[in-house]
Amino acid sequence: MQTGSVQIGWALAVTVALGLLMPWVRFAPASAFDDQSAIVAQLAEDDWLRDYALMNGHDWRALRRNLAAGESGLQVALAGREPESAARALAELLFGGTLVWNKALLVAPLLAAAGAVALMHRKRTRRWLVALAVAQAALYFYLRWQLRAGYVDRLALELNWGVWLMLYGLLLMALLLTARALLPPRVKW
């Protein structure tokens, strides 16, 4: 019988992996650029909570429009020099125009799975819990930072729920690993 933390850990690992396979991005309609006052207001605001933990209005509206359409996270990770695609545009936004580092997205489910395994052996792997938590948090904040910095470019794209599933899966896994590492090994949870 696995403890609660291990069960949650595996659920999060599956969430991250599923997120990578689900729709991530599609091109936005041209009307996304119409409300320029709102765009200016959004850019001018320093709302760290919304930028790094929550979702902004543009992203919520995109989710409401269509949950099924879009190219997957896997396509973003494997995007190369193919003709114009939303996956390639997002890969360039997140990892730069060279399209090399976008492969790093493939590491995300591996990190999450490693986190779940580490939770199963938490008495022997406390340092690993911390290291994996830091790695997943770093990936999460890097991606959020790039999404924030590229806000105007991102208006041409609509993010779908796959990207949020993966991002929040990573964040929750990092929190879970940290909590487990901080709790004494004798606490069974």
């Binding site: 650029f33 200016v40 207001a41 001018a44 105007v152 470019d153």
Partner: protein, 334 residues
Amino acid sequence: MVRELLYALLFGALAASNLPAVTYTVKKGDTLYGLGRAHGVSVDEITKANPGLNARSLTVGRNIEIPDQPGATVSGTNSPPPAPAVRLVKKGDTLTAIAKQYQVTVSDLMAWNKLASPQINIGQKLKVTAPPPALTATTATASGSARPPAVIRPAPEKYLFVSRVRKQIDAPKISRQWKYIVVHHSGSRRGNAAIFEYDHRQRGMENGLAYHFIIGNGTDSGDGEIEVGGRWRRQVKGGHLRTELTENGVELNETAVGICLVGDFERDRPTRKQIAAVIELVNYLNRRVTAAGYARPRFTVHKVIHPRHTDCPGKNFPTAALFKMFGAGAGGGE
């Protein structure tokens, strides 16, 4: 007796020269910052005018004094009204002329009448004063008695970045067709208008700063802060494009407004506030130019107007997104 009369006249005149104050009744959701922005005064000025006012707990229904900014339209209801509420457009009228006549801006008229362009038609009814709700103003007169309530024109729009330099942008009369608005980056991680002005003069540019506007990145000027260059104030040609770059035999500098964002966007990204400022400035300039009776300038960037010469404003500048916003830019002249 004569001396007392003279003192009364002297102090009366001094009192009359003070800026009038507006009595405002606080509504739900009001903040001092928001009221300050709406009236063009700082939070400090409001708190100074209202000793004991707690900025953190504004009570709904409380009357507070808002010092008025110089030049704001304040008029007593007993005095003759400055303008009729609605003006019928006659032959030969232009929006600029009407704005001048009623001492308002063209953008005010466009906002109040929901005009998409400054085009007006004979027989059209134009609102030439701000729509209600109006604020009541009480102004101390020379004799110490209060002026009757007056109507204050509320700010027509919220400009987050342009508002600080709006007067400087509006001051010059536009006397040439600006066909392009060209965005550049400075190629340096620091700088401001004064630094670039010095540099450009050292390089022999007699008109100084080559650009018409500079947008700071938070190093030597504020993040997203717009600085207005002398070339815009004097409405002279830019120095931001190569002189051999021409269109129909006319040097492009003659018709291109230059906006420079401080930063090296080959290495870094522009800040979010810089992008916000450039969007707001381009929109404002578009309205300013069209209000003066000229065609709307086209938005473009240096590397598009001069493709073989430069990568400016850098690969990290969101060129494609801004073209989607403002329409495609000019193709390269040479």
